[in-house]
Symmetry: C2
């Protein structure tokens, strides 16, 4: 079902770049390190990404975009009540964070903050990723009967709050911020119900 036969070189490079940039940021990640982690050579990296580090950053962010979108889609579909689904999503993120020994937070936050206003190509795909995630939440809320305006505003806050809670949880090395944010978001969503 899943499409993971054996990742080709290009895909290994993108995955390694995405993981390293998640953990160390864009500036903190070297192309040579990416090649090493991907079991590829520097020549292969530049073969697939003639645009250099920026092009690699763009691909890494797009990869992470889809990865988190998949997690979000699965979380949102797991419960008929979107409020409960989002609280469960926050707990799932807390589990992933703890299980990675607090290394794997939001896959694009670090890159986003380092490049915003300075690397237009990356800035753009980062903005698209956030919009993508908000759209998934908004659509789920509309499906559940929330009016358009409420669904939009809540989707903005849901993604913002999850971002901030993940950062906070990572820095504090504690699941609490994510768990509490999930509960508060559910409460907020329920306060708009009907």
């Amino acid at each position: 079902m899943a499409n993971t036969p054996q990742p080709g070189t290009r895909e290994r490079i993108v995955r390694a770049a995405s993981l390293l940039m998640q953990r160390q940021g864009y500036e903190g990640t070297g192309i040579k390190q990416v090649a090493q982690e991907a079991n590829a050579t520097l020549g292969s990296v530049y073969h697939f990404f003639p645009g250099g580090k920026q092009a690699l950053g763009v691909a890494a962010v797009q990869h992470a975009d889809q990865e988190f979108a998949d997690l979000l889609t699965a979380s949102l579909a797991a419960d008929a009540d979107p409020a409960k689904a989002i609280a469960a999503c926050a707990r799932a993120l807390a589990d992933l964070l703890r299980d990675s020994d607090w290394m794997d937070g939001c896959p694009i936050s670090a890159t986003a903050l380092e490049t915003t206003g300075r690397v237009p190509d990356i800035e753009q795909v980062v903005a698209q990723a956030f919009q993508h995630w908000r759209d998934l939440v908004a659509e789920r809320l509309r499906e559940a009967g929330f009016p358009e305006g409420d669904a939009h505003d809540l989707s903005v806050t849901v993604i913002s709050a999850l971002e901030g809670a993940e950062l906070t949880a990572q820095v504090a090395r504690s699941e609490t911020p994510l768990v509490v944010a999930g509960e508060h978001l559910a409460r907020l969503i329920n306060s708009y119900k009907k």
Copy 2:
């Protein structure tokens, strides 16, 4: 009243480092660039910070910690209703962000994400800063009559949500995420009232 007679060299260096790391992150900021922006020489930077870049990063984060704590304290004191005060704080952050042409978001987020789990000295002062900010919010909520448990949980979510909304607003180049987060936080806080 304010204590700004003429900043000495050390203070100019710390301020420049804090501003540059806010905008470009820790990894993206060079010591030479800090020296240049501070109108100091490389020798002066290493004179005041023999610990090198890490020591400079620690000082920059501590400076930003106090800076944001001052803004937060002023915002929280500006309204008798803490819910309204926090919504106003979010709007104030949106104004600052827009007025800086979306350059000046949270002063420590980028550094936090790049160094967490990798640079213990910086990780520690980042964690202290977040705790400091949460404490200010929690104390204000307790003052306003919220029970200890609610005040604690709400303070965690308030700082998390402001962090996430600032990141989101910066990336989207829009005040909306911060304004909406402020309104949602006020609504959440009011739902615990009494």
